[in-house]
Subunit: 207 residues, 2 copies
């Protein structure tokens, strides 16, 4: 068993649960799904890339779809954890800034995995999709609560909370389409830049 | 030959050049590529959906990749045409507003086609990809010139023109991931809402 080439797409220690083989299979599947899409990826593509036999996948997962579900569920959970880890000291502006920094930094750091989480969901079975959509709803709820509170307090000037939340999240999510870790801006810089833009969008620009 | 189911994804009169069969094949390919990705789509999928024989595709295109190239090239050209059709009366703020309305309205109206143009480019052969990337560069150049001029005139407050342009375009492009024509906001409304947000991002909010 070998790790994914160049470690590209490897989610890092503690991201996936389970044995080294299971982790290697998940990292490999992320790369395969991101490169050629879920439907065009075979289980053999996933196992061959990490030097395992074709049958090895079925030791850990009942199907290729179950691999995608594990990627999508864990990916969304980890992103949600990153949001929920942000402290809230009652300052709406500072709180939203922290949330956007967390959202953007996470998506930049995990851009390959996040691409799969954004673009391959249509391949999930209905009950798996429902689970992932629940996690997405929780994610949106955290962002919406932050924008709503600032708007109610008169700190933000937001004509439509739902549209503003969608736009702030769009900004963070779209970077998974084009972002590369070897580009000009490291994840933390992306986070700061986009937090400034998000605060402008909610009508609470910096000084 | 039948048209694509429910006309979903049909680009509309005058969008594609060529015979009715060629147009039907392109509309069908857009739907297939958007649903299951380029790699998992067979030429038979494309022809069967419009009631043509498998060989019919090769009357019009040398390969499945050539179909994708035609979709990507024409899609990018039409979007660029929509930007270039916007008048410029020398008012930086009004000009950028028009460009964002055009960008967002076009991507909302053609969201299925635009999804293929955004997510399937990696499947293009190198020289075809180069052609499409040139069109994308022209598109970015139009947006950048508009932001740059407003910044130079002191109408916009933009710490970094390239990042601001990327963010404004991200906002417009990301909607192809989630936008549906049967949703709450018609394309023109999306255009107005996102133009307001874009002007806030460049530090020139409305009154």
């Amino acid at each position: 068993m070998t790790s994914a080439p160049h470690g590209e797409g490897a989610a890092g220690p503690g991201f996936w649960d389970g044995s080294a083989s299971r982790v290697a299979l998940l990292d490999s599947a992320v790369l395969c799904f991101a490169r050629t899409g879920f439907h065009a990826t075979t289980t053999r593509d996933i196992t061959a890339a990490v030097g395992l036999s074709p049958g090895a996948l079925y030791v850990h997962f009942p199907s290729k779809e179950a691999v995608l579900f594990e990627i999508a569920r864990t990916g969304h959970r980890r992103a949600l954890d990153a949001l929920r880890a942000q402290p809230d000291d009652g300052d709406s502006r500072a709180h939203l800034r922290r949330l956007v920094v967390a959202l953007v930094t996470w998506h930049a750091r995990h851009h390959t995995l996040a691409r799969v989480c954004q673009y391959e969901l249509a391949a999930l079975e209905p009950e798996h999709l429902a689970t992932v959509l629940e996690l997405r709803q929780e994610f949106t709820d955290v962002m919406r609560a932050a924008v709503e509170r600032g708007a109610r307090a008169g700190v933000f000037d937001v004509p439509d909370v739902n549209r503003a939340v969608r736009a702030v999240m769009s900004l963070g999510i779209d970077l998974v389409r084009w972002y590369r870790l070897d580009g000009a801006d490291p994840p933390a810089t992306m986070g700061e830049v986009y937090a400034d833009l998000a605060l402008r969008m909610v009508g609470a620009p910096g000084d």
